[in-house]
């Protein structure tokens, strides 16, 4: 039987810019960063969690130029699939992300029967959702 999701991948337009966003803004950690000729195997992951997220750039050697251009267009139109993360403090994280300069929120934290979630986009257009499962304590405002 399968025991674990080991690697998931996401297309980005630029690996360095992606690394900066996913590590310095979102708070993930760098996983693999291995070069083989012109190819760079680059992953990030949730600290303490084993699943690697491979940051793939459309283009050679995986795609011809025309195919890569199509994928890049789809990424920037927000038409590709995204990632869903969990957090233990959604409202704290929302504030932290804003403080780090994240502006591309698609949805501020909203409560649902399964928890509280929010949405944002990475610099390229990929959708990211973050969920705190269960009942979330409301912040007391003065």
């Amino acid at each position: 039987m399968i025991t674990k999701l080991n690697v998931a991948s996401i297309y980005v337009l630029d690996k360095d810019e992606a690394l900066d966003f996913y590590v310095n803004k979102l708070g993930l950690e760098k996983g693999q960063d291995v070069r083989q000729g012109s190819y760079r195997w680059l992953t990030v992951r949730v600290p303490g969690n084993g699943t690697e997220i491979s940051l793939e750039q459309p283009g050679s050697p995986l795609h011809d130029d025309a195919t890569a251009a199509q994928i890049r267009e789809l990424i920037t139109k927000g038409a590709m699939s995204g990632l869903v993360f969990n957090t233990d403090d959604i409202r704290g994280l929302y504030e932290t992300l804003q403080a780090r300069g994240v502006t591309d929120f698609t949805q501020e934290p909203i409560e649902h029967f399964y928890g509280t979630d929010m949405g944002l986009r990475d610099p390229f257009g990929n959708a990211i959702r973050i969920l705190q499962q269960g009942k979330v304590a409301q912040k007391v405002t003065a």
Binding site: L13, T76, K77, G78, D104, F105, Q107, E108, Y114, D117
Partner: protein, 150 residues
């Protein structure tokens, strides 16, 4: 060339996200176009070329989808829901809902109950289908009567 297309798409997507996020507010096309740093006319034309429908219709579908959710999941009045999702009049809401969904808000509520799946899944899965030809000609956010059929 490709880089220009990508940057332009990204700006249009940012404007589309603004509609998804602020659908309940009295948005107009000028405000949304400003998010993409474009004139109203250029924005509407480009948005339609990129996403296949006018920004006005996109916002209508977004609002109707949210109203469908509230009709299913809550027992609030149709009037309450209408204003909550950003429509300015019950008449426009009812007409738009019927045009997009094919039945009245009350009939929709009577035949659909709550669903148990994450909200982001249902926002995508239950969003009513894309534009009709008549609606695609509509390019403003105004509430004026538009012809219902070509």
């Amino acid at each position: 060339m490709s880089q220009e297309v990508e940057d332009f798409n990204r700006r249009l997507l940012r404007a589309r996200d603004a509609m998804d996020r602020a659908y309940g507010e009295p948005l107009d096309v000028r405000a949304v176009a400003a998010v993409a740093h474009l004139s109203e006319a250029h924005f509407s034309r480009s948005f339609r070329a990129t996403f296949g429908e006018t920004p006005h219709r996109y916002l209508q579908r977004r609002r109707v989808e949210r109203s469908m959710f509230l009709l299913r999941e809550t027992d609030r009045s149709v009037t309450d829901i209408c204003f909550d999702v950003g429509f300015m009049s019950l008449g426009t809401f009812s007409r738009t809902f019927r045009e997009i969904v094919g039945e009245t808000p009350s009939d929709y509520r009577a035949s659909n109950g709550a669903v148990m799946a994450p909200n982001c899944i249902w926002m995508a899965a239950t969003r009513p289908r894309a534009a009709t030809r008549a609606a695609m000609r509509s390019s403003s956010f105004g509430e004026a009567d538009a012809p219902a059929a070509p």
